[in-house]
């Protein structure tokens, strides 16, 4: 056991910290630190800066822009990025569709999509959930029926985050409605969002933002070469994707930064003493999350998500929420019309998305405890 990082990892940490705090423009970092809704321009510019330095998609295979880093180094990269207020590379590109294409796609589809995905030349949207398929994703009903060298897609997706910016959408579609098990008839299909018959309708959320959308497919014709991997194997790819999603979802660095800013705000308002013990409790829990993430990173086998990542998802989401709740309370009566209250409302999503915390408990009970 050792308190310090190895000399190599310490140097790595310094390198990341220096890059993130000096090479990403201040206006981008300020926007993140102020918890504003990210604009498309901001996300694209930030990710291109990272990509040019080889820092956008470290988890990908090296030949497609990934880095041969240890799990611990990937953790340090992620934490330093969040601490500095650098926007995370768009999750749909960097941690969802990219790794799926890199792992299961043909050489042709990799060449066609991976460089553009890393560089945000394509903004990806996610087409998984449907009105009747939320936590029970395998009950999805959007169909893709082969017609010559095209699939004809019909149905509806929902909760498509930032779909208003999307150029392409990766979808789970039912290609074999007759399959014995409903998981077996699903495929992973890439769809150009400018294709005729595809429409995006925004959904206003409780914080007044338009962060998610419904996407409708009305006889949308998709070339068969846009299929990733094998037909009817999409469920396997989706499980792979969702496992990756959980790992990065704890947002430890970001929560640490917001808690530190909240402490400063409490001092500014002269209420620090009043909130000190609540801050202590939260800092104790954030410390526990931070150290657990470090422990998991150091112990993870390459490429296979540790089941303990469910712990990170549960606690990470709950702490994101608890810290924003604290920020609201510190504002006092002014909270009724404060931006931080909208952030608080928006953060209720964190225990719902990425596999709700109840789904994570099911995973822990089943996979880890054998119950």
């Amino acid at each position: 056991m050792r308190l310090q990082l190895s000399a190599e990892d310490q140097a790595f940490r310094e390198e990341m910290r220096t890059f993130f705090t000096t090479q990403v423009p201040q206006w981008i970092r300020d926007s993140v630190i102020n918890q504003e809704e990210p604009t498309k321009e901001l996300m694209v510019e930030s990710q291109r800066i990272l990509n040019a330095a080889g820092l956008a998609v470290p988890a990908w295979p090296v030949e497609w822009g990934g880095r041969d880093w240890t799990q611990l180094q990937k953790h340090i990269w992620h934490e330093e990025l969040q601490l500095a207020g650098v926007p995370e590379p768009l999750a749909f590109n960097a941690s969802m569709v990219g790794p799926v294409i890199a792992t299961f796609g043909s050489q042709e589809i990799k060449e066609r999509f991976l460089p553009a995905t890393a560089n945000m030349d394509i903004w990806w949207s996610q087409g998984f959930s449907e009105p009747d398929a939320g936590s029970d994703l395998a009950s999805l009903r959007t169909t893709a029926i082969k017609d010559g060298d095209h699939y004809v897609v019909n149905g509806q997706k929902t909760w498509t985050t930032l779909g208003q910016y999307g150029d392409w959408i990766f979808t789970l579609v039912r290609t074999n409605p007759e399959a014995a098990k409903r998981q077996q008839g699903i495929s992973f299909l890439l769809i150009d969002m400018t294709t005729p018959g595809l429409t995006v309708r925004p959904i206003e959320l409780i914080d007044g933002s338009v962060e998610v959308n419904e996407v409708f497919f009305d006889n949308v014709r998709v070339p068969v070469e846009n299929l990733v991997g094998e037909e009817n194997k999409g469920w396997d790819y989706a499980k792979f994707l969702l496992g990756n999603e959980r790992v990065g979802i704890a947002r430890v660095g970001s929560t640490k930064r917001v808690l530190a800013e909240t402490k400063e705000r409490a001092k500014e308002l002269g209420v620090f003493e009043q909130f000190a013990e609540r801050i202590v409790d939260l800092e104790n829990q954030v410390l526990a999350l931070d150290l657990t993430a470090l422990r998991v990173a150091a112990n993870s086998d390459k490429g296979r998500p540790d089941p303990v990542s469910s712990v990170l998802k549960i606690k990470g989401s709950v702490l994101t929420q608890a810290v924003s709740e604290l920020a609201v309370d510190i504002e006092g009566p002014a909270a009724v019309a404060d931006h931080l209250s909208l952030v608080y409302l928006n953060n209720r999503k964190t225990s719902i998305y990425g596999g709700s915390n109840e789904i994570q408990r099911t995973i822990i009970a089943g996979t880890i405890l054998g119950l």
Partner: protein, 361 residues
Amino acid sequence: MDFTIDAEQKALVKAARDLISNVYDSSETRRAITKTEPGFAAWEQLAEMGLLSLPFEATAVETSLVAEELGKVIAPDPFVEAVVFAGGLAAAVGDEALSESIADGSTLAIVAWAEPGSRWSTTPSAVTFADGVLNGVKAPVVQAERADVLIVSAATAEGTRLFVVRDGYSVETVRSIDGSRSGTVTFTNTPAEPLGAGGDQAGVLNLALDRARIAYAHEALGSMQTCLETTVGYLKTRKQFGVTLNSFQALNFRAADMYVALELARSVITWATIVAADEGSTPEAVASAASQAALQVSVAGRHIGQDAVQLHGGIAMTAEYSVGHHLARLTAIEHVIGDGAFHRARLAAVVGEHGVLDPIG
């Protein structure tokens, strides 16, 4: 930052586990032992294996690993009190004779620091030293009656000082809730030798206590792990309504929450040991780490201990079953090392001094 333990440490864990689980081979064995004096039975074997000398020749990592193994079966031997804490003080002041006799098991030393009504303050006021003798009352003092030597903190003209006392005091003993022994020690013109050389020793006492708190947290961690394992085992086998209890999601979710709490507590408590073992750590850093660990013991210990009892149902209320004893031990540990409110207040005094809390040294 590295949480892994090396081959030698793994061997130490295995040896300690084998020894302890042999002496306390069941909850009933432990229960019987706590009912006869002095209430523990592995001491000679711990000494023979060399585990009592660990604080003098190894790091906080090794002592914590052993404490965690003791905690898994809630072994009642006063390893942390006598070896980590009292031994830690003897070593800190450079008393080689006392250190050696603690290390070989010939002397069982206990620190008498708490005073009635003073909560967890380490500043003595009830016990004073003047003209070569101690006067006043210390309580609670774990295993005071069995102790060969007491290390006593006392108010003196030069501040807080530590003294060694071998006899000339009276002890009133009661059984503690965890099956241990708790003494009220009265000093009446009791002759006492100073421990270590002159000057105020508050810093030495506080640092040794914080290091002991971290070792205690590992005992609690071992106990929490057993609580979860026992509960999970029970949910898989106990049948009601014709099915095993793990057919009920409400119960499984509570077990999942216990697991989350356990793993988070493990991270903080293990980190605290790493802080204590690091030569560059200041006493303030060790104090903060000890409070972070103790706060986890308070919150996670209550959660896991209480839910272990609840998820078992009535059987856990019986003295014949194990988890109730674990809840008692977890409750006792928390109130020896300082409860959640105490450690929150201690951390609140320094939480405004840093922005982001960085656990990496």
